[in-house]
Amino acid sequence: MFSQQAWLEITQFMGVVDKISTIDELNESLRTVLGQLGVKHLICISAFGMPAMQNRKPMFGFRDTEWVKHYRKMNYHVDDALPQYALKLRHWEDPFWWTDFVAENDLTPLQLKIFSEAHSYGLKQGVVFGIPVDVDNNDEVVEFAYASVAGDIVKSDEIENTLLTVLLAAHRTARRIHMRLFLANESKFLADPIVNFSPNIKNIDSLTPTELATLKQFVENDTYEQIAAAMGCSISNVKKHLSSAQDKLEFGSRKEMLVSLLRHHYLI
């Protein structure tokens, strides 16, 4: 059982997680909450597309820990067995714990060394969760994330479930923040691959704010009249903005533009 303080922190975090508006703020909150459970390392990576051409981006996590610095310095990402394994996950609902992973897989000496060094940095046990965000009609996962958590923790159902709850909520918030930053032209950090995964959407940062706002209404509404009413302008203005956006984004038709924008839940 966790301490009462830990439960209090978790409950509080789950109450406000939807209102968190920056990644830094999210990381700080997670540090406090998960710190109560003994977590010292956290990284959540997002991946898009087919395995062979995956675009991986960190979404949130603790970036400035001693372990991460060391990991980077030693270029461990090249050999580390965990991310390679996480990308091939098939049974998403089953997280895998480090000790089980080491016992069940044939690891190279260097891969084993990474685990033993992690242990000396205080990461005695760890667990990796798969988060399949988008599954297409053939049950192929096209967008997913995985979160790796480690620290002074002991494998149990309770901690596994609690960590997963906190991480799913954090992932949802992080995804929303990254999309918003992208739309505000403030960051291409994460949303870029979401958008560029669909080959048709490019030059989106060349849109004017009005064009972008019109596009948003275009995605949500059925008729020009509805868009005009929502924008508070005339129908001919709506058409003008849409034509201009269509030219800039290099779409052949309105329908093509709509399908592409909808495909990735873009702008909604």
Partner: protein, 293 residues
């Protein structure tokens, strides 16, 4: 079309409901291994299957059930308020007239698609959302399996966890599973946006035709509902008006709205919608009485 069955029309669906309870027993007890629900009768009927419950069922023309779900108002006893109460540790399960709870979602054949190529679970899902929006329900809560939770990240919904992910089962020889109690806010925009994201262009998925008793004092059996569906398919121009009428007389919460309708017109309309005599043009319904052109 999704059939909406509640206390007002369940006498017309006795066979179907019996079939549903048996099917639920097969799916939840025999396939999923929820041994606590096991009954000698082979029917899964629990303490929430009362007159308060509303069932959403996808039926084919022969009356075979393809999928279904149960909604219970939170003013009656719900799962999250009683048996799953201890799991709602972040915030208590809602308890007011605008909040309903879903449970017992099942699909009997995953491969089934409607003629428009829409999977059954989408039809069910949007049918329930439509029903909720039209009835002024502002929130739905329920217990979700853990593997569906990540997919909610991509939907622009206002959702929150009522409690942490919990492992259930283990006792009574049940299989182990995971899930969490979740609350989702429902409104017209949410429905519209979700429909667009899932490319659902169909206008109506569930029309609570069976639940009309306030005015006509008569509910409609499954066959009549299918006739309605045929009529709607042949005369899409009349669909809006018909749904408006169905909703108006079905809306027991607001009897005032009924007085704008000539009762006999509405009854005739519903009784005779499969007949051709008023199908020459759209049915006009402007500020009140129904005019059949």
């Amino acid at each position: 079309m999704i059939h909406v069955i509640n206390s007002t029309n369940r006498h017309l669906y006795e066979d179907v409901l019996e079939q549903m309870f048996a099917l639920r027993h097969k799916i939840f007890v025999e396939e999923k291994g929820w041994k606590k629900l096991e009954r000698e009768s082979g029917l899964d009927i629990d303490q929430f299957d009362t007159d308060d419950a509303t069932y959403f069922l996808k039926l084919d023309r022969k009356g075979t059930i393809l999928g279904g779900m149960r909604l219970v108002p939170t003013t009656a006893k719900t799962q999250l308020q009683t048996i799953f109460k201890d799991w709602c540790t972040f915030s208590a399960a809602p308890e007011n007239a605008c909040e309903w709870e879903w449970s017992r979602y099942f699909i009997s054949d995953k491969s089934f698609r409607s003629s428009a190529g829409i999977p059954v679970f989408y039809e069910l899902f949007f049918g329930i959302l439509e029903y909720a929006v039209s009835k002024g329900i502002s929130g739905l809560s329920g217990f979700l399996e853990a593997n569906t939770l990540p997919r909610l990240s991509k939907l622009p919904w206002d959702m929150k966890y009522l409690g942490p992910i919990t492992t259930y089962g283990k006792t009574h020889g049940e299989k182990v599973g995971k899930g969490a109690p979740v609350h989702v806010t429902v409104n017209a925009r949410m429905l519209k946006v979700t429909k667009r994201l899932k490319r659902m262009s169909e206008k109506y998925f569930a029309i609570p035709l069976g639940a009309n008793t306030v005015v006509s004092n008569k509910a409609y059996d499954p066959d009549t509902c299918f006739q309605f569906l045929d009529f709607a398919a042949e005369h899409p121009e009349n669909l809006d008006s018909l749904v408006k009428i169905v909703e108006t007389i079905g809306d027991a919460a607001d009897p005032k709205s009924v007085k704008y309708l000539h009762n006999n017109d509405a009854i005739n309309l519903l009784e005779g919608f499969n007949q051709q005599h008023f199908t020459n043009g759209p049915i006009a319904m402007v500020n009140g009485p129904v005019h059949l052109q």
